[in-house]
Symmetry: C2
Subunit: 902 residues, 2 copies
């Protein structure tokens, strides 16, 4: 604690460097003030006071009162208003603000300094009785709750104030809060005060100063309430940090037609274009814009004209109904433009601004880094490097890997016919098609059943988050580009069309009507988040195109990353796609997928149904040329890059037919009896196939399979090398549990490879390595490494066996485990670093203890998951391998991991 006795800092006396003393919020408001942004004047009571207050037994240190009084009088001067003066009342907000944002503490009291007398003063100034009384009853309710602590008796009971609101609505015969008149709200305020008297035995304070000290004390006291203490202990936050208290002048955008409020971005958050972009409402509160209750107007003239065009409004209608702020209040708009330039220049990033105009005076209430679509993030990052504002490293870190998914999502096929039935705002880009559902619960349920859904809502709220996540896309009838639906969808990288006002949604009938079309729950629709179009039916999609900015950003990412990025690809087509996305080889080519096509499955079944080696070899001979052809195609697509081919992995019964007809067919094809087919199928069935006869266990029991696959791999490589191509095959033995398995399989591979190369008279460099996917392989990796040219962690199986969870069966408890916090994430999506990650780390360390340059990669689902990739970087893997569409995500994640480490 500093001893200089200065407990209070006006916003213009401090800056962002004083976060420890003033808390995050206080320091930021000071910073904005310092650079000349018109922030409503205010001051911060330091975190030192919080500590003193608690040490002194809930008493303030000497001198605080006079410092606060002095500060308030500075605010009065700046605002030209007097705290508690009914004729010209200054109202204040009081907010907590610790060094880090911390739930559990008292949050906010608004409109402080109000009482019945002040209300009457406000009415005479604003001419708006309802606004004034509503402000008062809200203050009583908020103050009664957070400062005086009037809570429902039981946790599950309704709030006593809300009960009273319901009661008065019933008495007045109205349904909505908004139908209550000024007089009703006055009555409600009086009733609120008597509830407080009755419940707490105290008079509600009318004195503004008493209100202020009460709120300040409540903030400091809340630092040590149970929830805050628990949160601190869970997050290792020292209790000595304390919280600051921010006291700020209230400004109102809803005091008449010379008032307005809005939200704006310094660049277009959807496209990243360097245009000022924002929405506002006149005579409104900030929440009105965000909540999407009224559809807001555009801030700029250009935006307004563009919007009118997309809504088919003529210029006259536009000017009448949807005039821009630029046109309506040109002076204030100019000020706003100046502010945003200053802010972007200062914070070196696109800003999301909240502003209010009160009687012609512009105030900025908040600035923060603006959320943006992936495309915008990429464009802004690249533009800012070119503008000289940030460097390449910063640019790379500005784009979240998890966001890229959005960029990489497919769009609608342009050639497909579209029946556009409505048009809304292009709130979050992308294309999605799905079955209509009308609430979040249904969205979640249907999608759990494997159905694709589009969530259609009048507007969304935070309760809908789960359903929004589950849905393919979101369509709302109300709300702008900054509405809840739009902001959340962009954050999720999910396609969204908002503010589609022509939709008439009937929740009870589970239909919506638009232009005479009636769409019912379960019907297919498609939405285009980049155009705002809503279409009937299911529309085919095409893969996304990668723009110039994207490529530039990716090339920077590649400069900074250490991890290699490969792809999991089983076909030449996948390989081509992945190479376009920047894959540097194939980390996992699953050969078994190749066996399912056409005639191959017949030969495969013949092999499995053979009773002896000779029969199996005969069938394998049929498969050999097909496999060789597969590998040729893949090699060509990946020329010059390594191609890791995994030998046959799944249990053989997966290839056999289980219905009678197919069994009869295969019996007659092969020339054995149906009974033999049934018997062999039964003998191959397993209680726990995941832990059964699969992986290299097949190659051990049937070495001829390994022989055939090796032959195909090496023959194809030799043939292409003769054409002058550079081919780098890496043969991967799956499901090793003991070193001996690898040793035996490697013997076979090497023997066949020599044979083939002798015969073809050409040498091909190839590696023989192994998947590490059995816990035992990881913990005995020092033994395994002796025979391995490389390791590739199969984190899917490793997760199954480390946890003892069958991926196919864990649905019965895993969602509950995540929900109850037993697991932080679904370990099949995000690598469990504590357990599975430990095995990866042990395996890597032990493997390298034997061969210190052992190449180690990972080819499970986690290879495309940003947090997991960061972990793989940290423990020193050489590469990750993931599905083609996730390759850019992996490249960017790898760069992030590398940059964060520095």
């Amino acid at each position: 604690m500093k001893g200089d006795g200065k407990f209070v800092y006006l916003f213009n006396e401090a800056g962002k460097e004083m976060k420890n003393l003033l808390g995050g919020k206080g320091a930021n408001l000071a910073e904005m003030t310092k650079i000349g942004i018109p922030v409503p004047p205010g001051f911060t009571i330091t975190t030192d006071v919080c500590n003193l207050f608690n040490v002194l037994g809930m008493k303030y240190p000497d001198g605080l009162r006079s410092q606060v009084e002095d500060a308030v009088s500075v605010l009065e001067k700046k605002m030209g208003m007097i705290f508690g003066d009914p004729n010209n009342p200054l109202l204040l907000s009081v907010r907590s603000g610790a060094r880090v944002s911390m739930p559990g503490m008292m949050d906010t009291v608004l409109n402080l300094g109000i009482n019945e007398e002040v209300v009457r003063g406000l009415i005479s100034r604003s001419d708006d009785e309802r606004f004034a009384w509503d402000s008062y009853r809200r203050f009583i309710q908020m103050y009664g709750d957070v400062v005086l602590g009037l809570k429902p008796e039981n946790k599950d009971d309704l709030d006593p104030f809300e009960i009273e609101i319901d009661r008065i609505k019933e008495e007045k015969g109205v349904e909505l809060d908004t139908e209550l008149t000024g007089q009703d709200l006055m009555e409600l305020s009086i009733r609120f005060k008597s509830i407080i008297k009755r419940s707490l035995g105290i008079e509600f304070p009318d004195d503004p100063w008493e209100q202020l000290w009460g709120a300040v004390g409540a903030v400091f006291g809340s630092w040590n309430n149970d929830r805050a203490v628990k949160y601190r202990s869970l997050n290792d936050i020292p209790s000595e940090w304390g919280t600051a208290v921010n006291v700020q002048s209230m400004v109102f955008g809803n005091m008449g037609e010379s008032c307005a409020t809005g939200v704006a971005f310094t660049r277009d958050p959807a496209t990243g274009e360097r245009i000022f972009f924002g929405e506002y409402l006149t005579n409104a509160q900030g929440e009105d814009v965000v909540a999407g209750i009224r559809t807001p107007y555009q801030v700029t003239k250009e935006g307004s004209i563009r919007w009118a065009k997309s809504s088919n409004l003529d210029e006259g209608t536009r000017i009448r109904n949807s005039l821009s702020l630029e046109e309506r209040m040109p002076a204030e708009y100019r000020e706003l433009e100046l502010a945003y330039e200053k802010l972007e220049d200062h914070y070196k990033d696109m800003q999301d601004i909240e502003f209010t105009i009160q009687n012609g005076k512009l105030w900025l209430l908040q600035t923060r880094t603006g959320k943006r679509t992936a495309a915008a993030a990429v464009k802004i990052a690249v533009d800012m490097v070119e503008e000289g504002s940030i460097d390449e490293r910063t640019a790379v870190l500005r784009v979240l890997p998890s966001q890229l998914d959005q960029l990489l999502h497919p769009a609608f096929d342009i050639n497909a016919s579209r029946k556009v039935i409505a048009k809304g705002l292009p709130a979050s880009p992308g294309a999605s098609t799905g079955l209509v559902v009308f609430n979040a619960e249904d969205a979640e349920e249907w999608s759990e059943e494997g159905k694709k859904v589009i969530l259609v809502r009048i507007e969304t709220s935070p309760e809908d988050i789960g359903g929004m996540k589950s849905a393919e896309g979101i369509l709302t009838a109300r709300g702008g580009m900054t509405s809840h639906a739009a902001v959340v969808a962009r954050g999720m990288g999910k396609c969204c069309v908002s503010g589609c006002g022509s939709l008439k949604i009937d929740y009870s009938k589970r239909t919506f009507e638009v232009d005479g079309n009636i769409i019912t729950e379960g019907d297919w629709i498609s939405i285009d988040g980049s155009t705002g179009e809503v279409m009937l039916g299911k529309i085919p999609t095409i893969p996304p195109k990668i723009g110039k900015d994207f490529s530039k950003l990716m090339s920077w990412a590649d400069k900074f990353r250490r991890l290699g990025v490969r792809t999991n690809a089983d076909t030449p087509e996948d390989a081509v796609t992945a190479r376009k996305f920047g894959a540097e080889g194939i980390g996992l080519c699953r050969t078994e997928h190749m066996f399912f096509e056409g005639d191959r499955i017949k030969a495969m079944r013949e092999m499995i149904l053979s009773n002896d080696e000779a029969g199996r070899r005969k069938a394998l001979d049929k498969l050999l040329p097909m496999q060789r052809e597969d590998f040729e195609g893949i090699y060509r697509a990946m020329e010059g890059f390594p191609v890791t081919i995994r030998l046959l992995d799944p249990p053989l019964h997966e290839f056999l037919p289980h219905d009678r007809d197919a069994q009869e067919e295969i019996a007659s094809d092969i020339g054995i009896t149906l009974e033999e087919v049934i018997q062999r199928t039964a003998s191959l069935s397993e209680f726990n196939p995941m832990l059964g006869h699969r992986g290299c266990r097949l190659g051990i029991t049937y070495p001829e399979i390994t022989e055939m696959q090796t032959r195909a791999i090496i023959e194809a490589a030799c043939d292409l090398k003769k054409e002058g191509m550079e081919i780098i095959p890496e043969i991967m033995v799956p499901l090793i549990g003991t070193v001996k398995e690898l040793e035996l399989q490697k013997e076979i591979v090497n023997r066949i490879a020599s044979e083939v190369m002798d015969h073809k008279k050409i040498e091909v460099d190839y590696l023989v390595g192994t998947m590490i996917e059995i816990p035992r392989a990881a913990i005995t990796a020092d033994e395994v490494a002796v025979y391995a040219d490389f390791f590739s962690f199969g984190t899917n199986d490793l997760t199954q066996m480390c946890f003892g969870y069958s991926r196919d069966d864990s649905g019965s408890f895993l969602p509950e485990y995540v929900e109850k916090g037993i697991l932080e994430n679904d370990p099949f999506k995000v690598l469990d670093q504590t357990g599975v990650g430990q095995l990866v780390e042990i395996g890597t360390r032990k493997g390298r203890s034997i061969k210190n340059d052992l190449k180690v990669g990972i080819c499970g689902e986690h290879g495309g998951e940003p947090r997991s990739i960061e972990f793989f970087h940290r423990i020193g893997l050489d590469y990750v391998s993931c599905s083609p569409y996730r390759v850019p995500i992996a490249r960017l994640s790898a760069a992030h991991a590398s940059l964060k480490e520095q």
Copy 2:
């Protein structure tokens, strides 16, 4: 290499302390000679010579020749025979003998010093033309193979000598080797010599000295052959050790009726009684006794009389047909008695002796520690302590834990009716009942199919080992107590009746006839290895009784062991049995077994089929009193010892019926539709139940199950404590993968326990711990330990998940894995120390890093397996828990582990 130039040591010049210089065999022969045992004279050429020989490029050091010649002349004097003298020929054996026994080197050449002239001399002395020529042709064959190196051209071809034997048999029109006459064998010898001439281009050496130096050189040369070098490198044996060469006078037990050969034990190897016990044949070779081709006579008179009684022979017949050595050759017998006393006194353990009497002179060829039954091992160990010959530690180490199984095996119920059809020798104690099979392959196959078999053979040979292992018991028509069948069966702790001469076995018909009964393959028979009786049909068995000696030995074992030994018991009966065997508590009480009996399964099914918590609670209320009663019974049986109760573990679908009738019954019992039963059953079925919804995952999803079980556990404990009993419940949460699971389950247990104890007004000390059976639990044991009062490693599941092997399915590859040496043992039988053991070690270490006195045990199958127990001792576990019958094995293994460590 010593430089003193002494390269040759006569047996009487050395002793067992010179093993490094003379090799194991040489040192032992010297030792026997030193203590005055009549060993055929001989000498050893030192291991130094081996090194010199190889360093000098296959040349002997100076002075060796004269030392060998001097030594041979000493042998000549001792034996009164001359090397190479046709009138009185001394024949020699030449054997290798390194510091440790080592396969791959040249083994033995017998009858060295023989040639055609010597043969004629032998004929004139022995009057046995056939014996003499057979000795010669055997020598040529042996020498040609091992010294001259005449091998078949291809590995898989027949031996050229064997081809010639087949040819001569065809020419002479005979089928068996034994049908060849002396003249035939002479002819064969000549042909053998010309084969050698033809193939190798050399004359077969007739000169005895040339033969001797050839054999010595072959032994030294074999030290560096491929197989020996490979064996050394695999077993870390330095090549500088070298091998010695042992040259010894040949003696013959087959040179007429004043010759004999036999095998004897210094105590009864079946019972351990301190009586001299042995079998012999006159005019025979050692192999004849062991091979069981002729049924041998008893060495002692007492033994002979006893044997005659058991075979219903009158004294006259006995004397005519089966006279003891004691009666037939009293002087030589006396000498033999003296020798065995000396040997036992010297080696302080029961000895297994090979002897030969040549023309009235006794020679001992070998002595070694005698194999014995478990009962004999116990009795001998305890007797020797009481005789003052060994101390208690040595006695404990003398009994192999793996042998005890035999002692603990059940015997036939005395009250059961027996239809004895034959009587053989009581070769290896125990009682077994099974289906008749006639060869080892069938024994293995049938037993793999889960059938119990008795292997019935005329005699057994080493090829039959696999089948003998698989069989419940072994019955042979020929061979004595020291026959192959008897010795091997005792080693395996397997019941065996040998030499049952009344059996007429027809392999081709797959039957045997005895006294007019025809028994066919697949018929049930029973054999009693303690009485030698063979009975028709299946006879019930009763548990074994534990004798006084056993208890004494066990009490010594308990003094030396550090590991605690508990039992896995699910019923009061099991608990009682285990306590009798010395269990110090229950380490695993599986509550689910209790749910299968009678009405319980109905209530259990009702619980599982309920759609909601209320329904489940109703069914659980029915189960509560039954569970409480179970625990009461178990507590009573284990009073004063801890009882570890595992909460419900298996997946719920295991409790549901799968056949239509039972499903209909349960539907009507519970009052739901059949469809609901079928649907619920289907919804519970899993692809990989081992990795599914089981263990604590059930308790997390259905906390009410944990509540009911806790209630039953604590209520029962409270009630019994009120009776004044000491009850120590330890509640074990199964299948923990994350600490949070344990935390949540422990919360429930503690809450219910408090409720129960408050209500019962009595406090019970209980612990809450967890199984460590998921790899993740082991590697995050430091987290888990925070909430665990104890750990118990479930090595069955841990093995499944560490290897990724389903125990139920691994039959398709695991046997092959063991056979191919991929795995040393079936990891479900013997703990895999490298992999699974590492997890146990990591888990223990991490757990104790948090709580340094954390109690750690193990309750998988491995808790009763000696090698695994030694490992658990070494890594510092507190206890093992195993099935009741294995408790003594665990106690003894724990003592061994402890003593070996010291």
